[in-house]
């Protein structure tokens, strides 16, 4: 529960700003305004804190994208970079853990020695020499590849600020503002923990979804103003796709709101925690729909038609370069991050520990924000996994899927949510039977569909017309017949 979370950042900030307000405004002739001042100060500080948290933890996303994708691709360089973590011979050179103060690096040394003893190679002299050499090459030992993003940012910063000659300069400059600012505004309404949020109006869910819908306009303007046919097509595709997927998304979110009985995100999480059941187990269909529509909303493979690099070069942001490109790219990842956080909040119980209340009493020392971030990172790993496994869907197929499958399914999902809320939920804790039965039905359906293969469609592969010539095994002289 929220009370159990010791990481009361908002409480601390409030205390701090009240102290500040007391000692400044409170001592002046505006003393009546000190409450307002403290509130404004709190909001400002919390906005900065949330923004900073989001921007720093977003690096993890890029890291997951790079590393997990590399492992799926079986790419050697990227998959093997972690190795230098545990292959370190020690000896002449100074290990990084040796530099830590007060001997805090000792466990690393023990681990390292143990690993080398158990699994190390004494095969060749050069291996030892090599590993030693390697530690000199740099700081590979610490989060390999993690700080690449900072290098990228520096690169973007130093690039030229270019506007195409024939572009509509006003719109070209304004469009990224619309996209980036609306993306960052999203995080005003996303709570990172019971006490870590920057704004919490009663209708935070509605505001969130409203702001989610602004970026497509920016995308469209960006595509239009670049005066490039690729960007134009990309912009139009983006608009069409986002329209088609926004409605199922809203209906799915509505189902979640109906089930939890609130339009407030924090209350949705608390409802899940109080009722002892994550929405995932109550609305598995809704979770699947939300995942699909969110992937489409953040324009990732398999729904990345707007920036399909195979045919549209880079889609609607082809003409953007340098820092603007970097910021647009960041906005894209921020939207993906928001999608993951929202999935974790809506369906995975938000900052509730894995295992629910049973575990919660033993893990009270872990702040809620950690659970939420871990859940959202896992969700992002799923995003990456989907991206690595599936291909890009064509425009017409995307739209058809959106309108003809997702929209009816989301309505069905809404119906299920209404039924659960009105008739099944008795105003108490969910009986364990309810999520159990629903999950069992979902799993059974999934397995049934997954093993199902229509033999008739397999027959259909024998296509009717054929000029096929039966080719027998070759032998000397067979061609002369």
């Amino acid at each position: 529960m929220a009370e159990g979370d010791w990481l009361d950042i908002r409480g601390w900030v409030e205390a701090l700003s009240f102290a500040i307000a007391d000692n400044t405004v409170g001592m002046s002739r505006f003393w009546r305004q000190k409450g307002t001042t403290a509130d404004i100060l709190t909001e400002l500080i919390m906005a900065v804190v949330v923004f900073g948290l989001i921007m720093t933890t977003m690096l993890v996303l890029l890291w997951i994208e790079r590393k997990f994708f590399a492992r799926i691709m079986d790419r050697r360089g990227a998959t093997m970079a972690m190795r230098s973590l545990w292959v370190g011979e020690g000896g002449e050179h100074v290990d990084w853990y040796g530099l830590l103060p007060f001997g805090t690096g000792a466990p690393f040394r023990w681990l390292n020695r143990w690993l080398n003893k158990v699994a190390g190679s004494d095969h060749e002299v050069e291996s030892v020499a090599r590993v030693r050499d390697r530690s000199y090459h740099g700081i590979w030992w610490m989060l390999p590849g993690f700080f690449q993003n900072i290098a990228d940012a520096v690169k973007f910063l130093t690039k030229e600020w270019m506007v195409p000659t024939k572009a509509d300069k006003f719109v070209f400059e304004v469009a990224p503002f619309i996209i980036i600012s609306s993306t960052i505004m999203l995080f005003a309404f996303i709570p990172l923990g019971p006490h870590v949020w920057s704004a919490n109006p009663d209708l935070s869910l509605l505001f969130l979804m409203a702001i989610f819908g602004i970026a497509p306009l920016g995308v469209f303007f960006a595509g239009w103003s670049s005066n490039n046919k690729y960007t134009l097509i990309g912009g139009i595709r983006s608009a069409a796709q986002l329209t088609a997927y926004e409605i199922p998304l809203l209906v799915t979110v509505l189902a979640v709101a109906v089930l939890s009985g609130s339009m407030n995100i924090i209350e949705i999480v608390e409802f899940q925690m109080d009722m002892d059941g994550w929405n995932l187990f109550l609305l598995p269909l809704g979770a699947a729909l939300f995942l699909i529509t969110m992937i489409a909303e953040v324009e990732r493979i398999p729904f990345d038609m707007p920036e399909a690099e195979a045919e549209l070069v880079e889609g609607w942001w082809t003409e953007y370069g340098g820092l603007r490109w970097g910021l647009l790219f960041m906005a894209e990842y921020l939207r993906a991050y928001a999608a993951c956080l929202l999935f974790a909040i809506f369906f995975l119980g938000g900052w509730e520990p894995f295992g629910g209340n049973l575990v919660a009493q033993y893990t009270a020392f872990i702040p809620g924000i950690a659970w939420l971030l871990i859940k959202s990172w896992l969700m992002f790993a799923v995003f990456v996994w989907v991206r690595a496994s599936l291909h890009r869907v064509r425009t017409d197929q995307i739209l058809e899927f959106g309108w003809r499958w997702l929209l009816p399914l989301s309505l069905v999902n809404l119906g299920i949510a209404v039924w659960l809320r009105l008739w099944v939920w008795q105003g108490e804790v969910w009986s364990p039977l309810v999520p159990g039965i629903i999950t069992a039905i979902a799993v059974a359906l999934f397995v049934l569909l997954a093993i199902d293969e229509d033999p008739e469609s397999l027959e259909g592969r024998e296509r009717p017309y054929s000029v096929h010539v039966k080719a027998g095994p070759a032998g000397p002289g067979t061609h002369k017949k």
């Binding site: 997990f68 492992r71 799926i72 691709m73 079986d74 050697r76 360089g77 998959t79 093997m80 970079a81 190795r83 292959v87 699994a119 190390g120 190679s121 095969h123 060749e124 050069e126 291996s127 090599r130 050499d133 390697r134 090459h137 996994w385 989907v386 690595a388 496994s389 599936l390 569909l449 997954a450 093993i451 199902d452 293969e453 229509d454 469609s457 397999l458 592969r461 096929h468």
Partner: protein, 329 residues
């Protein structure tokens, strides 16, 4: 022809199959579990996926190469997924070129002895016959002049090709073996040599010859009196080996054209770039290779050359004798 048995768009194929395939590949990259779990083995329960180990070299070849060859007794996998270096990880390490090189770390994986790398030339056996120049499709091989020791006179007394080179004369070039002559030969590893080949001799002009003591002005500066026995005749000869690397396409036709075993492609893939076209002109010191690389073949070539020289001299001597006879008559 054979369609794939499951090639139908349906729900089963929508996510389950491709996503499981992708996850399987990711799980295989986990060090210990990835290679040992049967669940993650090859498709349809095939054999071990990564690093099916075989011996690098078969037995009779190993006998032929001798035990010192780096390939002998080494484990090798078809996909190069393993090495002896860190065997417990069973995946190759990233070679952080240019700080590390594969041929330094795992020479047995750097297989090709016939790799077409930078052109290398053993000056000692080049006769400037220009066959390489004719063979080159792009015209990137050029002749140049370089100082070299007259190899036909470098050997000890009693060898079959001794003494058929030019002789030490006043005003001519001489060379002296450096003190670390043997050491240079020993250290010289063609595979690892990424810079100019080391010079084994000091060159200088012979100013004065006085019995057994010669006065030499060394190229590096300084005039010395050295015993004649230390010196060897040198000459500034036309040799092949000025390469326009900007044009070279490493086809190896020049190597095949050379009849004297002096022109070949080294294993070096490095140090062949530059910032201007002029940088790509590789002058003779860059393409030089010490004769120790092919000592046997060089020696065989020298025997041949000495035989020719001997025959030539005998013929000349006979001619001179005949001429003198005629003159007398």
């Amino acid at each position: 022809m054979a369609y794939h048995p499951h090639a139908t768009p349906n729900f089963r194929n929508m996510i389950v199959r491709p996503m499981w395939m992708a996850l399987k590949t990711a799980l295989r990259t986990i060090p210990y579990i990835g290679s040992r779990s049967r669940f993650l083995a090859g498709h349809k329960g095939g054999e071990k996926y990564h690093a099916q180990q075989v011996e690098m070299i078969d037995e009779w070849t190993a006998e032929r190469l001798g035990p010192d060859h780096p390939s002998v007794g080494k484990i090798y996998a078809g996909d190069r997924e393993t090495s002896d270096l860190v065997p417990y990880l069973e995946r190759p390490l990233t070679v952080m070129y240019p700080y590390e090189r594969l041929e330094e770390l795992e020479p047995w994986l750097f297989v090709p002895g016939n790799y077409n790398g930078r052109i290398g030339i053993i000056w000692e056996t080049c006769t400037a016959c220009k066959l390489c120049i004719r063979a080159c499709p792009n015209g990137c091989v050029h002749m140049t002049t370089e100082k070299r020791v007259n190899v036909l006179d470098t050997t000890d007394e009693g060898d079959e090709w001794h003494g058929y080179g030019s002789e030490i004369e006043e005003g001519g070039l001489v060379a002296r073996k450096k003190e670390e002559f043997e050491q240079i030969e020993e250290d010289y590893n063609l595979v690892l040599e990424h810079n100019d080949a080391p010079q084994q001799y000091d060159f200088g002009d012979l100013i004065k010859l006085d019995g057994d003591v010669a006065t030499v002005r060394w190229e590096t500066g300084g005039v010395d009196e050295v015993p004649l026995a230390d010196l060897q005749p040198a000459e500034e000869d036309i040799v092949s080996g000025r390469i326009d690397n900007g044009r070279c396409m490493f086809c190896g036709l020049c190597m095949e054209a050379c009849p004297f075993e002096s022109f070949f492609m080294t294993n070096e893939y490095d140090g062949m770039s530059g910032y201007s076209r002029q940088d790509l002109w590789m002058d003779a010191p860059r393409t030089r290779v010490l004769p120790v690389v092919h000592q046997e073949r060089v020696d065989a070539e020298l025997v041949k050359r000495a035989k020719q020289e001997r025959g030539k001299r005998e013929k000349r001597a006979a001619k001179a004798a005949k001429a003198s006879e005629q003159a007398e008559a």
